[in-house]
């Protein structure tokens, strides 16, 4: 693809994100720009790089993307607005978020099994606070997958999952647990 085309696409992606002023799903952005997923990813990588050092940042999950005020500039904005960000969260909530962030999209049953306790109340709370989102599970229509939102990444100050603290090490350890043969099927409810 010629370089000017990508440049053009990046401009348009940035303009759509600015105009939306919030989170756009990757699917929506693809259709707005009239391109496929791979070209969009290319444009978003370019956009992320372009925003470096401009006071803005691009936050991206597997399904959504948004413009945000970058870490370097956010203290000034926060101070100016003196916004009360209700940031209280319990240990149970943080554990559920840790599972979804480091292990990847998970079902309620998987989360319950890892924590050894029913988490329906905690998950509902996280959903209503916009920290998790619920999507259908392509592998099983009867259950939902829970995944991190742009708002969650924004709140912990990371632009994507790769920026999570100790990401490589922890995901590798979690994977090691998965690969053991005695893991029960995902719909085993504890």
């Amino acid at each position: 693809m010629p370089q000017t085309d990508t440049h053009n696409l990046t401009n348009r992606a940035q303009a759509f994100l600015f105009s939306e002023g919030g989170t756009l799903t990757l699917r929506k952005l693809c259709s707005l720009l009239g391109v496929g997923d791979s070209r969009l990813q290319e444009a978003l990588v370019a956009l992320g790089a372009r925003l470096e050092g401009t006071g803005l940042a691009l936050i991206k999950t597997d399904t959504e993307v948004s413009l945000a005020v970058a870490k370097e500039t956010s203290p000034a904005i926060q101070k100016a607005y003196e916004r009360e960000l209700s940031s209280e969260i319990g240990d149970a909530g943080l554990e559920v978020l840790a599972i979804v962030l480091y292990k990847g999209p998970s079902t309620r049953a998987q989360i319950d099994y890892i924590r050894g306790v029913n988490t329906s109340w905690t998950v509902r709370n996280l959903l209503s606070r916009g920290l998790l989102e619920r999507t259908g599970n392509p592998e099983d229509g009867r259950e939902y997958l829970y995944r991190p939102t742009v708002e969650l990444l924004a709140h912990i100050g990371v632009r994507n999952l790769e920026e999570l603290p100790n990401r490589a090490e922890i995901t590798a350890e979690l994977k090691a647990f998965e690969s053991r043969p005695s893991e029960p099927p995902s719909d085993t409810h504890l």
Binding site: S66, L67, A68, R115, V117, V158, P165, S182
Partner: protein
């Protein structure tokens, strides 16, 4: 009783894995057969004192208790042979504990940067409700309308001319009427103003009134709206002559 049950089902409470992990960590041990055997009694005592939980949750506590009892029995009776199922459930419990410990550690890591340096999202600017939508208005049509508007405005030059249109000075008219009376002794108002326009007629009328007021002339009018006859009051006064 009902309220207790309600509060338990809506709040996150400590499950069996968390209870067990807390007990092992309190003893500063790592997760192993030995540590699990060690905490079995404490765990059983805890389960006995459990408040009323939903049935499913109680079952989880008891399931873990039964696995712990297996571990403890094997520790006490080294000759005890566990079945494959039993061995698997022991391994599974250890594995789950280890993974839960990792998740707990990770959650602490997240706590460390929870809301510390958030990336702020845009507040979505609400769209203002549009009362009037200028559908076909472009910059060009607006500019054309502005030009049209300017072209129908009164010309500033014309206004200046109108403002300075020469009018008869009252003083001069008084002089000329007086001169006329001196030579003609009498005249009529219609005669005086027959070649004058409306504005000038008004000035002549004012001049006549002024002559009457100063006693230089007298006027008579036979009937309303009839012509006015103006006569020199001081016909003998030659100083008003030319």
């Amino acid at each position: 009783m009902m309220t207790e049950r309600f509060s338990l089902s809506t709040e996150a409470y400590q499950g069996p894995l968390e209870t067990l992990l807390n007990m092992i960590e309190e003893r500063k041990m790592s997760i192993s057969d030995i540590s699990l055997a060690e905490v079995t009694d404490a765990y059983l005592a805890y389960v006995e004192k459990l408040p009323e939980l939903p049935l499913g949750e109680t079952a989880q506590f008891i399931l873990v208790a039964s696995t712990l009892l297996l571990i403890k029995s094997r520790a006490l009776l080294p000759t005890l042979e566990l079945s494959t199922d039993e061995r698997e459930s022991v391994e599974e419990l250890e594995r789950r504990l280890a993974r839960y410990a990792l998740i707990r550690k990770t959650a602490k890591l997240l706590r460390g940067q929870w809301g510390i340096h958030p990336l702020l999202l845009a507040h979505r600017a609400p769209l203002r409700p549009t009362v009037f939508r200028p559908a076909d208005a472009t910059l060009a049509t607006i500019a054309a309308a502005a030009v049209r508007l300017v072209s129908i405005l009164p010309r500033p030059e014309a206004m200046v001319q109108a403002a300075v249109a020469p009018l008869l000075a009252l003083e001069d008219v008084i002089q000329s009427v007086r001169a006329r009376l001196v030579t003609a002794i009498r005249t009529s108002f219609r005669e005086l103003t027959k070649s004058r326009d409306k504005n000038e007629t008004i000035v002549y009328f004012l001049a006549t009134l002024e002559l009457v007021r100063s006693g230089s002339a007298s006027v008579t009018q036979e009937r309303l709206f009839e012509d006015i006859t103006i006569e020199l009051e001081n016909a003998v006064a030659p100083r008003y002559g030319i």
